[in-house]
């Protein structure tokens, strides 16, 4: 998929699919705090950074390295959206 045809819904769907591999039997809401659920520890944040960089072909800069940008599917979609859309 090229970034030309990427929509916010695509970003959310692909992010949700990635997280789904780690959260078994959980229906994750777009505004739910992944880290507050207690299923993953904060190390998971780095997996999210690497996933986003690879999946959407963007660079997460030093100033974006704030866990609040990775807490929810919505926050991650906003971050990616700001860089590719």
């Amino acid at each position: 998929m090229t970034t030309d045809s990427l929509t916010v819904e695509d970003i959310k769907a692909r992010t949700r699919a990635f997280i789904g591999k780690f959260f078994k039997n959980i229906e994750l809401q777009d505004d739910e705090d992944i880290f507050a659920l207690g299923f993953v520890n904060s190390l998971f944040a780095m997996q999210l950074v690497m996933f986003i960089e690879k999946e959407f072909g963007i660079a997460v800069e030093d100033q974006d390295l704030n866990i609040d940008n990775f807490r929810t599917i919505n926050a991650m979609a906003d971050l990616v959206k700001g860089k590719v859309l």
Binding site: K21, F22, N41, A45, M46, V49, D62, N66, F70
Partner: protein, 283 residues
């Protein structure tokens, strides 16, 4: 003693963490391993870990490029000819540790304190290899090093008070503190942790509970951050097996016999988080 330059031997998981923490503490670091491929991997990992650190510590002052710039990645021990302190983190294998410590003793200046980062090797025995047994100390760092505030510091038979003080000073510069214990196999941490992990594996083997259930009890009933089997996956099941075997050989006490399921998993190549599969599966 003013510690400026610190050698870190071994750029595996522990060496990477120690090197990063030292660089973050402002020390000039020389990170040594046996080939460039390992060193390139170490550099990538440290960069990634510095990013994680920034992410988890909101508002922290951390210049990632400058911190990385304080680390020299090299295969050449001659860089240690003016090192004030060395932390050795090579694999927990006596012959390999021995060769490294003989080399360090020959190259490092007389004032250098050498720390053995180990959970299993006798500090007193390492000291016996060198001309400076009073300057050999154990430092059992916990993984991930940059996130763990406390280090088990081990006093060998001949380790001096001055060496213990220098070791504590180094740790303070890294934002950490040390708890000083005596030199007996497994020290405090591994003697308890390895038995706990081993018994948890027996529970899974005997079908008393699943790995998730065992870990849940430790987390939700005892308030531990991680259960014993998640911890085992993080440390590496091969390392766990090796550590419990060392305890078994050291004390000749059957309470340290390794669980057969643990041996089987290691034989099957299930080494935990580092290769994607252990008691849990990782991406």
């Amino acid at each position: 003693m003013a510690i400026k330059k610190v050698g870190v031997i071994g750029a595996g998981v522990m060496g990477i963490g120690v090197g990063q923490s030292l660089a973050q503490g402002g020390y000039e670091v020389v990170l040594i391993d046996i080939n460039d491929q390992i060193l390139e991997h170490a550099e990538r990992e440290i960069r990634s870990n510095l990013r994680l650190f920034k992410m988890l510590n909101k508002g922290v002052e951390l210049d990632i490029a400058a911190t990385l710039g304080r680390i020299t990645f090299t295969t050449d021990y001659e860089h240690l000819s003016d090192a004030d302190f060395v932390v050795e983190n090579v694999v927990e294998n006596w012959e390999i540790k021995k060769a490294v410590h003989l080399k360090l003793d020959a190259i490092c200046p007389a004032h250098t304190v050498v720390a053995v980062n180990t959970s299993a090797i006798s500090i007193t025995r390492v000291g016996s290899l060198t001309k400076r047994p009073s300057q050999i100390v154990g430092m059992h760092f916990m993984n991930p090093v940059p996130m763990k505030p406390t280090v088990e510091v081990i006093r060998g038979y001949h380790t001096s008070d001055a060496t213990i003080a220098t070791a504590k000073e180094l740790l303070a510069g890294m934002g950490k503190k040390g708890v000083v214990v005596q030199d007996m196999p497994g020290f405090v941490s591994n003697r308890v942790l390895m038995l706990t992990v081993n018994e948890a594996v027996f529970l899974v083997q005997d079908q008393v509970a699943s790995a998730e259930e065992v870990d849940t009890i430790f987390k939700e009933c005892f308030g531990h951050k991680m259960g014993p089997l998640e911890t085992a996956d993080l440390i590496g099941l091969d390392t766990i097996l090796y550590s419990i075997e060392v305890l078994y050989e050291s004390y000749n006490d059957s309470k340290y016999r390794p669980c057969p399921l643990l041996k089987k998993m290691v034989d099957a190549g299930l080494h935990g988080r580092k290769n994607g599969k252990g008691f849990y599966t990782y991406e």
